[in-house]
């Protein structure tokens, strides 16, 4: 890694998608650079979630292309994109309510390993894979949920569920993490915790910090080094709270009515007249 050269991780060109007569995505060009936290802002109904759907593969575009790490992924379906390193979260919480937090994350680890497709997948009990369970515990610790590992996901607080979702997304070890309003509906304390977690993803140098747990520290460091925390974590963050956006983002893009009207460093976007008129107006 030593170089500081910026490389495009995701390149979106001319992307369009309509619902009936409405062009929710109307010619979006956007480039995400490896390692950046890129905030996507815009008024309600601007098409932010639709763009996340298009990047994650939940929706296919009517026109335009997506290139990820140089490869054309325009027609790839969702699990192919996850395999390539694009994982998303949802604006509305998506968890497995009747499973424990640990099992929620274990399923994500299992998905990433893809060894549920090995010859033993149908016969050996899932509970026999202690390594996988230990890794799931590590990810829970990483988002501060180690103590709640045994609780059912349906029983924990909203903030804890959102943190759980982050742990699940991270457990797939994405190169690009798409976060759709991860702070939505949170109280100030929970929001601050989540903000710190996201900030912690950026350009994280050295071995990851891991909360103490029942297992030995050395192995934990081994399972978590590389992948998500090697300073390569790129994030596309949809967020309404401007304070948090300006705190977290390396760059900001402004989406209005399906188009990106401005894109650049936070200071530049803040000064942009068109953005002030269309969106930021009273907030700044």
């Amino acid at each position: 890694m030593g170089t500081t050269e910026v490389t495009a991780l995701l390149e979106i060109a001319g992307l369009k998608r309509h619902f009936g007569g409405l062009w929710a995505t109307n010619g979006v060009d956007l480039t995400l650079e490896a390692g950046e936290i890129h905030a996507l802002i815009g008024p309600n109904g601007a098409g932010k979630t639709t763009l996340i759907h298009l990047i994650s593969g939940a929706l296919l575009p009517d026109a335009g292309t997506l290139h990820f790490a140089g490869a054309d992924i325009t027609r790839c379906n969702m699990h192919e994109r996850v395999a390539r390193g694009i994982t998303r979260s949802y604006q509305i919480t998506q968890i497995f309510p009747q499973l424990s937090l640990l099992e929620n994350v274990r399923l994500a680890v299992q998905a990433r390993r893809r060894d549920w497709g090995s010859s033993l997948r149908f016969w050996r009990p899932a509970s026999a894979d202690v390594q996988m369970i230990a890794e799931a515990g590590d990810w829970l610790g990483r988002v501060g949920l180690a103590a709640a590992a045994g609780q059912l996901a349906g029983d924990v607080s909203h903030g804890e569920r959102r943190a759980l979702e982050l742990a699940m997304a991270l457990a797939t070890r994405p190169r690009l993490l798409l976060l759709d309003e991860p702070l939505a509906g949170m109280g100030p304390e929970e929001a601050e915790h989540m903000t710190r977690l996201i900030a912690g993803l950026r350009k994280h140098a050295g071995p990851p910090q891991v909360f103490p747990g029942p297992q030995g520290g050395e192995r934990r460091a081994a399972t978590l080094s590389g992948g998500a925390f090697n300073g390569e974590q790129t994030v596309l963050l949809v967020e309404h709270d401007m304070d948090i956006v300006f705190r977290l983002a390396d760059r900001i893009s402004v989406l209005v009515a399906g188009r990106i009207i401005a894109s650049g460093a936070p200071a530049a976007v803040r000064e942009n007249q068109e953005v002030r008129r269309a969106y930021l107006g009273d907030e700044l």
């Binding site: 994650s56 939940a58 969702m78 699990h79 996850v82 395999a83 994982t87 998303r88 979260s89 949802y90 998506q94 968890i95 497995f96 309510p97 009747q98 499973l99 099992e103 274990r106 399923l107 994500a108 299992q110 998905a111 990433r112 060894d115 549920w116 033993l120 997948r121 149908f122 016969w123 050996r124 009990p125 899932a126 509970s127 894979d129 699940m168 997304a169 457990a171 797939t172």
Partner: protein, 307 residues
């Protein structure tokens, strides 16, 4: 540990049943008990699809019937060996499920119910229009399959073979449900969107489940053809799918022994009521209503609550 012991105890009791019946001179009931086990097997396959895979399929009769017709047709062509014919019957049901599932699993909910029903009815009408398959009359078996060194012509032997296959399938499905694949199925039942988002090929996982459940029904069909001495169109008809679904609901959707309990309860009830009243269907309907209203998790759920 306790549960294991209870299971082994029940299995031994079930294995001893033909000897008890014979000693009382009630040999007729050996055939009836075999029927119960065969339907328990078919319903167990459906329970895997509905209860574990979360797919309400209304065409299970197709796979049940295909298993039976495969055995009958192979026998008509001169293949008597169960060692060959039964695996082929299972394979035929699995192949049909692969094709039907690949199309049907693009839909969900009510559409999935309708499309699986439509496919099953298509198979029913195709089969009764085929002369070599016996048309409306069905296809008789010249005799039972041969399963050397066992003699299936003996009713008790057929019963024991059926019991062994049912136990083996229950055990295998239980392993499957606890495996990594099974945990993916559990995730799918709770949140498909999330499963997709963490990278599971959702439709493939469901298709595997659908095929496994259908293969079990195919095996049950092969056994039923032997028990009945024929493959009959009624086995393919939609009412048969409905009956299997009723068994699963009665016994407990997604419960380990839901299919078994449901089959025993429904067929047992029909048999008993059939002796005392001409309106047995009415009372069976009442019983089903009572279960749905008062025991939403089926008979297996009642059992669990007692403990």
């Amino acid at each position: 540990m306790n549960q294991r012991h209870a299971e082994i105890g029940l299995l031994l009791a079930a294995a001893a049943l033909p000897l008890v019946l014979q000693s009382f001179g009630e040999d007729y009931y050996i055939g009836f008990a075999t029927r119960l086990l065969i339907f328990a097997l078919a319903a167990t396959g459906l329970n895997f699809i509905v209860g574990y895979g979360g797919m309400v399929a209304f065409g299970h009769a197709a796979f049940f019937g295909i298993g039976a017709y495969a055995v009958a047709l192979l026998m008509a062509a001169g293949l008597f060996s169960a060692w060959l014919a039964w695996p082929l019957a299972v394979g035929a049901a699995a192949l049909a499920a692969l094709l039907i599932g690949a199309v049907s699993l693009r839909t969900r909910g009510v559409y999935f119910i309708m499309i699986t029903l439509a496919f099953a009815q298509m198979i029913y009408y195709s089969v009764i229009s085929l002369k070599f398959a016996g048309g409306d009359d069905g296809l008789p078996l010249a005799r039972r399959s041969t399963l050397a060194p066992l003699d299936l012509a003996n009713d008790a032997t057929l019963y024991w073979v059926t019991l062994a296959l049912l136990a083996a399938c229950l055990f295998a499905l239980q392993r499957l449900a606890a495996s990594r694949y099974g945990s993916a199925l559990a995730g799918l039942r709770q949140n498909e969107t999330r499963m997709e988002a963490i990278g599971y090929p959702v439709r493939h996982i469901k298709l595997v489940c659908f095929v496994v459940g259908a293969a079990v029904a195919g095996l049950a069909g092969a056994l039923l053809a032997n028990q009945n001495g024929m493959a009959s169109p009624s086995q393919l008809y939609w009412t048969q799918s409905g009956m299997l679904l009723v068994m699963v609901i009665l016994g407990g959707v997604g419960r380990r022994y839901g299919g078994v309990l449901g089959a025993i309860a429904l067929l047992g009830l029909e048999e008993v009521l059939g002796r005392v009243t001409e309106h047995s269907h009415f009372y069976v309907g009442l019983a089903l209503l009572a279960v749905v209203l008062f025991a939403p998790h089926g008979l297996a759920g009642l059992w669990a609550r007692q403990k």
